[in-house]
């Protein structure tokens, strides 16, 4: 495979509501800053790929607003996935593998604050027999959490510990939305939101955008002293039907992690996109990352979840840990669909 590295990453300050800026206005400075940092013009970039979803804004062709933020003139070679930007990055990586591109720009953005996100997410479900019951995203996750709790896969305290850890880590992340020092006991004394989930178990609703530059082969040195090389990359989807899969584990994460070679060596840092605390535990176990791994140094999705950019940001945050020398080997994870239906794993290395 061709050597490809993550060399640049920018993101917007994640917030509950970007009241005064539309999607283009949120994304534009993120891309501008990245191009400036990397000293790149559009004409230097061979391929652009993005991730977004029409239903967040309730309007067809959300990605057109994204293109407006790129300044696609002269015209650009560009594609879009109706998925998290992490999968856009995968498509760009594939294009680089085939030699189509040496430098790629990838971005993702979401402004879910305009709607009722948990309600909107019901539209992802089987439109015949499930969606008409309007199960919201929190209820779907709660069904999974209860199966795990009843099966003694973990307990509510372990879930609270995830929130304590991620919010604490987020104190060092200037872009985070939720951060601070919390005690598990205090969190567990809070009422249920949708039992067995409490508020701390759920990622916040967030507006935001992020962007990444990928560079292949010999040119990497021009951009970064210590690039984050992509050494393994895989994504796997499961059937959606909750009844058709074992929800107390994340089989697709395990397969993707195995194929990406997560277990080949020590993992210093893992950035996990778990929209709910219990899902973080399932992903950690599926990846097989243990006590020697620092989990979610950025605070992860519980600290901010700008849907359609969150997964891409995990790759950026993991790469940042490689750039600054904290990690020789970092793993980034992204998810999509109800109850960890689809999962992506990217292994980044400093050497």
């Amino acid at each position: 495979m061709r050597d490809v590295a993550v060399v640049g990453f920018t993101q917007s300050k994640v917030s509950r509501r970007e009241f005064d800026r539309n999607e283009t206005e949120i994304l534009m400075p993120v891309i501008q800053e990245l191009k400036k940092e990397m000293n790149l013009e559009n004409t230097d970039i061979d391929f652009i790929c993005s991730g977004s979803s029409d239903y967040l804004a309730g309007q067809s062709f959300a990605f057109v607003a994204g293109l407006d933020a790129v300044g696609a003139w002269p015209p650009v070679s560009e594609s879009h996935v109706e998925m998290d930007g992490a999968w856009a990055l995968y498509e760009a990586w594939v294009k680089m593998q085939m030699g189509y591109a040496d430098i790629s720009l990838v971005y993702g953005f979401g402004k879910p604050s305009m709607g009722d996100l948990p309600h909107t997410m019901a539209l992802q479900l089987d439109p015949y027999a499930v969606m008409p019951l309007w199960p919201d995203a929190v209820s779907m996750a709660a069904l999974q959490a209860r199966l795990c709790l009843d099966g003694n896969v973990f307990d509510e305290r372990a879930m609270a510990d995830v929130a304590v850890r991620d919010r604490s880590h987020a104190k060092n992340n200037p872009f985070a939305q939720v951060s601070g020092d919390f005690e598990a006991d205090a969190l567990l004394a809070e009422p249920y939101l949708v039992s067995p989930l409490r508020k701390h178990d759920c990622s916040p609703i967030s507006d935001g955008a992020s962007a990444i530059i990928l560079v292949a082969g010999d040119r990497v040195g021009e951009f970064c002293d210590r690039p984050a090389w992509i050494r393994g990359f895989e994504h796997i989807v499961e059937p959606q039907d909750l009844g058709a899969r074992d929800l107390t584990q994340s089989r697709s994460t395990a397969i993707a992690g195995e194929k990406a070679g997560v277990g080949k060596d020590k993992v210093d840092v893992a950035e996990i996109y778990a929209p709910f605390s219990h899902q973080s535990i399932l992903v950690e176990r599926a990846l097989g990352v243990g006590p020697e791994t620092t989990l979610n140094p950025s605070g992860g999705a519980l600290a901010g979840n700008p849907i359609m950019a969150t997964g891409l940001s995990r790759i950026g945050e993991a790469a940042a840990q490689v750039w600054n020398g904290t990690a020789d080997r970092a793993v980034a994870h992204a998810t999509s669909g109800p109850c960890l239906q689809q999962n992506l794993v990217c292994v980044l290395e400093g050497n």
């Binding site: 501008q32 009722d116 249920y192």
Partner: protein, 324 residues
């Protein structure tokens, strides 16, 4: 420097009733529900999948052997919804649940109606409470309820003649948004509320955008320059005569949909031409806005009812051809 006023917002209601054709396997399931029977489909491994699919979820192979399962079963998991959202099946607290029906291999997602959270336990027995009227819908099962061993209420009699087979489900999808225009575009909209047409200049090439969403897509920069007051006169650069009804458009047919460039602006926008015979609409016509009565103005391009022809010579093609 004073803080710019906040972005304008407005409700955006997205609603459509979708027509979902079913095919044979889903068709059997929903026709079964109408008769108050729950049908699954047998997988290659012998297990029964409920609700059924026309393929095995693991292998993708086609399957179509329908098998009836019980309307009673065991709770595999549940989530207590204290504060139901709009459109959810009950407007009082209830539980979403995964229910393993007797005879099925995989649990069904549905709801349980129970007075309190404490009335639900994993592993408890539940039974379907059927709706009084069934139509071929997952909501023909009104809910599940605790099976306390008492004799179930007799099922409401299914119609002897259930009517024609159901081929299509009608599923309403309704979402409510609060659309925010963005700060920059809000400046333009506030201008419109005062009957002013405010263009915004691209700082890179000086071109004047009207209307705009606040940025220049060519250069990817905010339209940060001083606002440019425009007149409500302009040139019709191209058009079509629309004779097609659309659910989104409240105009009487036929009408002339026109692209206009206002004098002093460098971008076009779509609007309507009035006070003109359809046969007389031409590229290059000089036009002027006709406004709604002042008391009806709000923050919308809709304050301009339509454009009307001006009694002026047509613009030369070369003068506006760059806008097509």
């Amino acid at each position: 420097m004073t803080e710019p006023p906040a972005s304008l917002t407005a409700p955006h209601h997205l609603a459509y009733t979708y027509k979902r054709s079913l095919g044979p396997v889903l068709g059997a399931f929903f026709n079964g529900l109408r008769e108050r029977r729950i049908l699954g489909v047998r997988r290659a491994n012998g297990g029964v999948l409920v609700p059924p699919k026309e393929y095995d979820p693991e292998s993708g192979e086609s399957i179509d052997e329908m098998v009836e399962v019980s309307d009673e079963g065991t709770v595999a998991s549940w989530a207590w919804v204290n504060a139901p959202r709009a459109h959810q099946p009950l407007d009082r607290p209830f539980a979403y649940a995964l229910i393993l029906l007797d005879g099925a291999e995989t649990p069904l997602l549905h709801i349980i109606d129970a007075p309190n959270e404490s009335d639900i336990k994993t592993g408890m027995r539940v039974r379907a409470r059927w709706a009084d009227e069934t139509s071929g819908s997952i909501l023909d099962i009104a809910c599940f309820e605790a099976d306390d061993g008492s004799k179930p209420q007799p099922k409401p009699a299914a119609k002897a003649d259930g009517g024609d087979p159901i081929e299509i489900l009608r599923i309403p999808v309704e979402l409510d948004y609060t659309y925010s225009a963005g700060q920059s575009a809000s400046r333009l909209l506030r201008g419109l509320a005062e009957g002013r047409l405010i263009g915004q200049r691209c700082p890179v090439d000086g071109k004047v955008y009207f209307p705009s969403r606040g940025s220049c897509a060519k250069h990817a920069v905010p339209l940060s320059g001083d606002p440019v007051e425009l007149t409500d006169r302009g040139t019709l650069v191209t058009f079509s005569i629309n004779r097609v009804p659309s659910e989104n458009i409240k105009l009487e047919l036929p009408y002339a949909a026109i692209q206009v460039v206002l004098d002093g602006a460098d971008t076009t926008f779509f609007h309507v031409l009035g006070e003109c015979n359809i046969e007389d609409v031409r590229m290059g016509m000089r036009v002027q806005a006709v406004w709604k009565p002042r008391e009806e103005w709000d923050q919308s391009v809709g304050n301009i009812l339509y454009f009307k022809p001006l009694d002026e010579a047509d613009a030369d093609f070369d003068s506006y051809k760059e806008h097509i």
